[in-house]
Each structure stands twice: as structure tokens, then as C-alpha cells.
Amino acid sequence: MIREFGLIDVMYLVGAARWTLVLTATAFAGASVIGLAIAIARILPLAPVRWLAAAYIHIVQGTPLLVWLFLIFFGLPLIGISVNPWLAAAVAFSVYGSAFLGEIWRGALVSIARTQWEAGASLGLSLGEQLRYVIIPQSVRVAIPPTVGFLVQLIKNTSLAAVIGLVELTREGQLTAAGTYKPFAVYITVACIYFLMCFPLTQWSRSLERKLDVAR
């Protein structure tokens, strides 16, 4: 049955945006953990570890997110893990995000002057302690603006989860468009909701960047 595209549908779409945000948050948490490990592995004074981390980044950044989504969706069952779209999406986005966050955070870590490491070492701090107490606290400031910028990418990319049937904003849009035969109105609404989520973050990232520039 064809029904009108009305306020109730808009409310449903806004409600579905919640799942976009939940997926983004989950993916960001997963990507942060792996990404931090990758970033640190990239600067360790141990060549094979550095190469492995670099290879990981190259491979993940060189393949489409859609491929990761499908590989994990179809691959996890092969090793005996039953998947639902949520698990597959969470894992795929964590893998994908970790490569980008790893690169961003590595940049932040190496932006800290060599002498800071040496100062830490001369105070008798171990390598881990130098990272923990000297380098990471200083690099966080550098890392925040591009990290917020990446968050925008992540929100937009979660739309791909619709392809494996996870009902977030884009999927809800597809369902609504199919039910109402008003694809233009529906997708414009969907685009507006994405814009309202992403634009404030974009602006925030920019103002953080400016502040950082002034501070330097």
C-alpha cells in the first residue's frame, strides 16, 4: 500500500539516525583501540613491527570499505562465529577506522620534537613511560582536530552498513522511499539529517585547528 510521506516518517528517520550514531560510537571505540596500537607500532624502534603496521595501513586504505564489510560478514561464519549485521559492521568499521586513525595519530606522535624523548630518557623514564607521560599528552592536542574531522568521515561511511541490511539512517530512508514512492523527499530529508550531524563537527574541527595554530 502506498502511503504519504508525512511528519511521522520524518520522526522515524530521525529515530533511525540514533542507530547511525550508535554505530559511529561503537566503530570509533574499536578503531581507537586498534588505531592507537598501530600508531605506536609505527614509531617503535623495531623495524619488523613498523613494517607490519605500515602494511596493515596500506592494505586497509587500499581496499574499499564495502569489501571489508562483505569479507567480514561472510568470513566470520567460516571460522565459526555467527554474525548479525551489527557485529559485522562494528568489526568492519573498526578495522577501516583504525587504519586512518593510526595514520593520523602517528602524525601527531612524530610531531613531538625528538628532544622531548631524549629529555624523558635522561630523567630515567623507560620507553613506555616516555610515551605515557611525555609524548602522548603533548600529541593529543595536535591529534584532536583531525580526529574530529575523521569522525565526520565515519558518520558518513556508516551509511554503507545499509548494504548488509543494518537499519540505520540510510536503510530507513530506503525502506521509507519504497513505502511512500517519494524518493526525492525522503533522501533530501536523510541528507539533511546527515548534514545536521556532520556540519557542527566539521565546524568544531576547524575552530580547534585555528586555536591550535594560534597557540603555536
Binding site: 587500499g62 574499499p64 564495502l66 569489501v67 565526520v152 558518513k156 533522501y187 548534514f195
Partner: protein, 220 residues
Amino acid sequence: MKYGLQFRDVFAAWESILDGVWTTLLLSGVAMVGGLAIGVLCAAARVYGPTWLRTVVGTYVEVIRNTPLLVQLFLIFFGLPSFGLRLDGLTAAMIALVVNLGAYTTEIVRAGLEAVPKAQIEAGHSLGLSGLQVFRYIVIFPALKAMFPALASQFVLLMLATSIVSQISVQDLFHAASIVQSRTFRDFEVYTVIGVLYLGLAFAFRGLFAAIYRLAFVQR
């Protein structure tokens, strides 16, 4: 139960996979050329144009960069027919990709143009060069050099993002994968092969751009 990976059926379908590679290359090529053209025009408008034009271009850039490509694609392919504009999948995909990439290249080109120190432009003017001469002899070359790496990585990201067009049944590389999958049920193997192919394409593009960079900017 143990599962043995079998690639034979996947490799047997190499012809449809190769067709997919060509479509992906075609889409990427069109998007790169079109996106770069839009980017250069819009960046020039944003840097040198009148205020109203800057606002228009700025809005275009912000709207595109803050909404997902998939939604833009759906709007063009499913939404435009409401206004009587019915496009086939390939055309819709090309338009969506060009419009999308155009917004990103605008920002990159603009940053490149603004990276040229003001003092050099003023020096050109004080030597009596016209606006166009300043652009031709002072601005464009260092600007191109500054924007090239960012453009190259944006182009590679775009090439990977073209996989999305499979969702409106354009027969690109990713679409070829789903066809082979539905015929052979070797899903994991198919997507592994496709992933490796995309990886190869990404490396090829990176290599190509690095070679262009060396040719154009390093030897002088």
C-alpha cells in the same frame, strides 16, 4: 565443520571480473577529470570571485562534504525521476562521483592557491605583471606542487569509493563480485579476490601519481 576455501569457480568467472575492472577504471577516470575541472573552477571562484559566488561555492562544498556519497547517489538515481529526469545507472553514477569529488578538490585546490605566499604575488604586481601573468608565472606552479599529494590521495580514495555505484546496479568491479557470488556461493573467496584487485588498482594509481609528481615537479 571445516570449510575449505575454493577459488576455482571465482577464477573461472574472470571475464565478468575484468569487465568490472574496466567499468571501475572508466568511472574513476571520468570522475577524476570532471572533479578536477569543477574543483579548479570552484576554487578560482572561491578565491578570486565576488562575494555571492563565494557563498554559492562554499555552500556546495559544505553540503557535499557533510553528506554521504551513497545518499547523494540515491538522490540522483532515485530522486531525480520525480522531476521527470530519468538517468541510467552509469550516467547517474558519473554525475554523483563528479559532483562529490568536485567538492573535495575545490578545497584542496583552494588550499594550494592560498599556500602561495602573498608577498610573492605582491612582488609580481610591483614588477608590473598583470593579474593573469601573476597567476601564470608565479601562482600556478608552486600551487600545483603543493596540492598534488592531497589530490592524489583523494583520487585513490575516490577510486575505492566507486564501489558504491554497485548499489544502483552499475556493473563495476564490486557488482561483478556480487554476480559471481550469487552464481557460485563462494562469497568469502569472491570478496577476497575483489579486495586484492582493488588493492592492486590502488597501488597502480599511487604509482602513476608518484611518477607524474616526479616528472612534473622534481627534475626542475
